[in-house]
């Protein structure tokens, strides 16, 4: 696992993808197309409700798209695979398993022998700095530690791509910063792709090579912005600050444009600013939408 050659990234090709939940509902997003090269870290930013989470789940094969196609290395994605693993806003650990068992669960599904699972889990725990928590009950861990366990649980599968849906938004600023740094560093070290959905412009700047701005209802990709910054990225670095300001402007121009009845540029952008910085705004306490 520490050998970058063992895992490597993928070509992602999303072509003219549209989606609607049920025939009666309007389109969730429309004609989304983009490519990613192996090892690329991509972020999708956009207003709440423009369809980012849905898009990510369609790409992961957890939900069928209505029109269009997703291919990964020229392979049409129609079902989930442990080669591309999704991480959600909440860690969704299995509370009846300890940390070690949680991390190894995917390998158990794949019927790996016990000793090999053990070795691989140890490596993954080391990667996320949780070696000494292996035997703990997950409910005794902090939110950040739990999200690290979820990360390790994804990493043991040696995925070629990690799909992250606002994975750090429920964490405090310090924990978030260290996880942002670690996830990017691990992904780069392993050479795997990242697709990260976020509300947080800072997160996009710190973690991504490219930012896709999604806007409208139904959502479309309205901007493809290259985040050309050297590693390691520090929030306080003037270059990072400058890039942040630029992306903010792009975002406002694109996503913040008044739509369906909203008016007055000033008010709208102010609202955007709040939205972008308030990364703990999700009301539904970490549960995914479920068709009730």
């Amino acid at each position: 696992m520490n050998n970058p050659a063992s895992a490597s990234g993928v070509h992602v090709n999303v072509e003219e993808l549209s989606h609607r939940y049920t025939p009666k509902l309007p389109l969730t997003f429309e004609e989304v197309s983009f490519q990613a090269v192996p090892g690329e870290a991509l972020t999708i930013i956009g207003r709440s409700g423009c369809g980012k989470s849905t898009l990510l789940q369609v790409i992961a094969g957890l939900m069928p798209g209505s029109i269009g196609r997703v291919s990964i290395n020229d392979e049409h994605v129609i079902e989930p695979s442990s080669r591309w693993v999704m991480m959600f806003q909440a860690p969704h650990l299995f509370p009846w398993m300890n940390v070690r068992q949680n991390v190894g669960v995917g390998l158990r599904f794949a019927n790996w022998p016990k000793d090999r699972i053990r070795d691989r889990v140890d490596e993954a725990l080391e990667l996320v700095h949780l070696e000494e928590f292996a035997g703990k009950n997950t409910q005794d861990l902090s939110g950040g530690q739990q999200q690290r366990v979820a990360l390790a649980r994804s990493l043991v599968m040696e995925p070629e791509m990690l799909l992250l849906d606002e994975p750090f938004s429920a964490l405090d600023a310090f924990t978030r910063a260290s996880l942002q740094r670690d996830v990017r560093q691990i992904a780069k070290q392993l050479g795997i792709n990242l697709i990260l959905v976020t509300h947080d412009i800072d997160e996009a700047i710190l973690m991504a090579d490219r930012a896709l701005v999604m806007a409208g209802a139904p959502g479309r990709i309205v901007h493809d912005y290259k985040v050309d910054l050297p590693d390691p990225r520090e929030r306080s670095d003037p270059k990072v600050q400058e890039m942040r300001a630029k992306l903010m402007k792009v975002f406002r121009d694109a996503a913040g444009a008044p739509h369906d009845g909203e008016d007055e540029g000033d008010e709208t952008s102010e609202e955007d600013e709040t939205m972008m910085n308030d990364s703990t705004k999700l009301e539904f306490s970490g549960r995914e939408y479920s068709p009730a």
Binding site: P80, S81, V85, V105, A110, M157
Partner: protein, 268 residues
Amino acid sequence: MAEKSQSQVWIRKFGLKLFNWVAGLLILFLLWLLGGYLIYLNPDTTHFSDFGPIPTFQAFPLLWEDGTIPNAIKSSGYRLGIGLLIAICCGIPIGILLGRSRTFRELSNSPFQLLRMISPLSWEPIAVIVFVTWNQAIIFLIAVASVWPVAFATAAGLAKVDPAWFKVARNLGASSWHRLTQIIIPAITFDMLTGIRAALGVAWIVLVPAEFLGVTSGLGYSIADARETLSYDHLTAMVLTIGIIGYILDSSCALAIKRFSWHRGDEA
């Protein structure tokens, strides 16, 4: 130093618990002793004085040695075990259906609520007609009484399952077998065991009166028999046996629940 005082606190807490446990039983015993004594004092009831604790405890070894108690436990335990097993085997699938299928839940709600409210013993005459042996009839009564707690608790457990667990599992390559064994079952074990504990309580209560008729073995039969032969000391000894065994069964269930519970802060 801190560790030592912590273990001292623990010992004190445990000691107090044990003391209260013993004291509670002792109070019950003293009340019983007092009652027995009052019965003895009253000339009208003197011949009932065998209900008191001293004759009862004298009857215990006799009943044990002549095989009355062990045989009764064996027969009753067999009926209880089979009845509960049937209830669990039917109750868990019903609970899973209730939890997973909305149509089934809505369709079955009123019939189940209606059936549930029928006192299990009122099935007895019908059961005796339907089944060939009394044994089968009693097992049926136990199963009918205890299937509902198991089914409803299983459904309640399923309702608490986080749908995102399935998404995560699917993404990590879980087959439907894995989903059942690694997620659904461990997730609902706590509620299932709680349901089984409640079922056991109901079954235990139904068992004794069900054995009053027809059969010639079991705890209920032994009580009816003792009443007919006017051996009141035997009667109370059997009553006490029922209480003790019920207590042991229930406590074992509580222990199992504690062992398998991953819930925080709602241990039984």
